[in-house]
Amino acid sequence: MTEAERHTYDVVVIGAGGAGLRAAIEARAHGMRTAIICKSLFGKAHTVMAEGGIAASMGNVNSNDNWQVHFRDTMRGGKFLNHFRMAELHAREAPDRVWELETWGALFDRTKDGRISQRNFGGHEYPRLAHVGDRTGLELIRTLQQQVVALQQQDEREFGDPEARIKVFAEHTVTRILKDGSRVAGVFGYARETGRFFTIEAPAVVLATGGIGKSFKVTSNSWEYTGDGHALALLAGAPLMNMEFVQFHPTGMVWPPSVKGILVTESVRGDGGVLRNSEGDRFMFKYIPDVFKSQYAQGPDEADRWYADPDNNRRPPELLPRDEVARAINNEVKEGRGSPHGGVFLDVSTRMPAEEIKRRLPSMHHQFLELADVDITAEPMEVGPTCHYVMGGVAVDPDTAQAEDVPGLYAAGEVAGGMHGSNRLGGNSLSDLLVFGRRAGLHAAEYAGGIGADRPVVGQQAVDAAAEEALRPFGLAEMVEPDGPPEGGGPPENPYTLHTELQQTMNDLVGIIRREPEMREALQRLARLRARAKQAVVEGHRQFNPGWHLALDLRNMLLVSECVARAALTRTESRGGHTRDDFPTMDREWRRKLLICRLAAGAETAEVTPRPNPAMRRDLMELFDAEELQKYLTDEELQHYSSEDAEGQE
């Protein structure tokens, strides 16, 4: 029998980024005993990296803004593949979540009359991003962390125990969701420091684990982003959707090495920064797709007037959605007009006075000067596409954030799919975390609170199986004989080597531009890596053993990478964060289909199957011009809407 520390809670939240903390605060507010589990120290989650801001149509800077405009922008950004209901809830509720955060103490930059200031960002029609300089994510995390501390001190006064209703298990990793029949019964994992196992029995689990970027070589993502929640959901029997859509941020630094992968926030472009190729050409004007022609300036004069007079001019094309900008840069480089290190130039130095740059972008200026000897007030930056975000994730109910097919399982934030369709707009991530973090916490609390005496139970067999799986890399180490190969065939493998090969494979073969033969090759390589990962061997003991942790993370990364590759191979069109060299255009028929990944019990790889994308509600459809809808919807769908229209008039 496995020795594992046992706890009992009502709601377990996996992940302590923006979505996880917001979910935990909500569950605790509804009286649930809530556990937060995070891989890093508390307050270090990847959310801290978000620079630009939180998108919410408060209309503080331009009063024309409202939730309908935000909804429209979000659907356009996602190329209409978004789940309309998620996009609607997000646009409607984001302002309340920002105001709430402010009343909890968050610092924001202010307008002259003391309200929350809002800035322009790619794909957003009006200045919409509430921000704190370029450290908005850090402030969001810190405010939620402060709120957790405040609640714990309340509980200490009330119950004599600060952890009575909300406890943080920092530096703990979950390796399995445990079930009782079809329902969630709890989680199993290990404490990183001691290597000891733990189980938490709980009827509701919220996945808030973020993304999968560590499966790619060139990435802005932090080490935690190994697709844990995606894999845990699959293994628990819940489906993933939209996994082919991976966002490459257009402007990650490509040089010098010390800043490689660091993102240059979109607000550099929102505030006047421009992209130029090696010939000095401001090339983005060549890349405005037809669907966006009416909203973007056709030449530099109009574009430059927009910064001061946005009501009478169209936006500069540097502010197109991220996928468009990333593809344009990729094309410039491919055609030989790239910068010396395979990117293009992002220049703010010739666009505004040095003092202004320092005031508007203080962290950027400081970071580049200190880390790279690059003074952004005096010279351009070299930037290129960098793996940044996965649109795909757990298929959830839009209103409750409950994962399909597994009662008691919820998902919010980057690990959930649907909200952003095929491409996420900048600024919509932080608002997503708050809106759906709250909803997941609320509905997990309602579910756990309503379960009564019928609580699911964690079976010892499941705990033993999870422990055996987690100990496997040590078991192999014992099997290694000095004179011969270990049991199970194949030589022992170093988990770091396997990880590097996985990253190279995904980057080269399932990266920003995809081709069928390359993806087939990727699937073969992934199959070989999966076999080799079974031979991963770790040295040392269970106490704080990073090699062991990575060996366990590899299972998740491999599983999720296969989903990305299979879904990308299946979708024979280009849309948002999925670009096929062999199918370069968007296909209206494909918009009607979502690709679902499932892992059958006992299977090693996920199956990908299409299913219909739910049709948008009529009142939401009416927010768009018929002309615009024609770009996205099939004739059949359009006819359907217009015939309903005719019926409505009767």
């Binding site: 270090k44 090495p257 106490q543 090699g547």
Partner: protein, 263 residues
């Protein structure tokens, strides 16, 4: 100056075009500790060949991934924002992800560089290698009531705050809770009961926030014997802060507020 810049530029271009980078060979001397194996820590040298423009964190990763998979340290975002990888590098507190190898390499003697030393931050119990027990640090943070306390009715939208009022505590909101300041403070080394600079910075962040109504309470907490009066103004904390926060100045502002009882 312009010549130097051009030289640097063309050297970088040449390197890129030839596909080569100018590696240097040096030793990383890491203070290793594994309580399961030995009661005392030991210094272990690792020879590395790397581009000196890479980060010290890259050097640690190289050791871990290629030489010894058991090397343990915390890191998360790797971009200087999350504050996980504060450590003593050549005797000075820094974030490994914000330290370039070239900046701690020194000049070679007869073609050989002095080793770069890396050890855990001081004043907190070492758990393994570069990982310390951060609990006392976070406890001090929690003790200063690090959350907004506002009386009166909750607004339906945001509270208003003027640009000037907001600017007053901007500096102390930049804190990333990395512990570089607190673990560089000689007072903290000698007496772990002292709140330490990071906790005071986080108290300052609320004491000087125009929206907050609990400034007096926080000042009373910091007026206690383990509070601000222990600070000896050595400026170690300000030097150590990877975010450039004027830590000592913030502590002085809190002291002044205590004397004048005016925020």
């Amino acid at each position: 100056m312009s010549t130097a810049t051009e030289d640097k530029h063309s050297a970088a271009l040449d390197a890129a075009e030839s596909g080569a980078t100018q590696h240097v060979t040096f030793r990383l001397r890491i203070r290793r500790f594994n309580p399961e194996q030995a009661a005392e820590p030991v210094w272990v040298d690792y020879e590395l060949s790397m581009d000196p423009k890479e980060k010290l964190l890259d050097a640690l990763h190289k050791v871990k991934w290629e030489i010894d998979g058991t090397l343990t340290f915390r890191r998360s975002c790797a971009h200087g924002i999350c504050g996980s990888d504060a450590m003593r590098i050549n005797g000075k507190n820094r974030l490994a992800c914000k330290t370039l190898i070239k900046d701690v390499l020194g000049k070679p003697k007869n073609g050989v560089y002095k080793p770069i030393t890396v050890e855990p931050i001081k004043g907190l119990t070492v758990l393994k290698d570069l990982v310390v027990d951060m609990d006392p640090f976070f406890q001090a943070f929690r003790d200063v009531m690090p959350f907004l306390v506002a009386k009166g009715n909750e607004p339906t939208r945001e509270r208003k705050q003027s640009i000037e009022d907001r600017a007053r505590f901007d500096d102390t909101t930049k804190c990333i809770l990395c512990a570089a300041c607190t673990s560089s403070c000689p007072v903290f080394w000698n007496d772990g009961q002292y709140f330490g600079p990071a906790a005071i910075v986080n108290a300052h962040r609320f004491i000087f926030d125009s929206r907050d109504d609990a400034g007096e309470q926080r000042l009373e907490i910091l007026n206690e014997k383990d509070g601000v009066w222990r600070c000896r103004t050595t400026f170690n904390c300000t030097d150590a802060c990877p975010r450039g926060i004027q830590v000592t100045q913030a502590i002085q502002e809190v002291k002044r507020a205590l004397i004048t009882r005016r925020i």
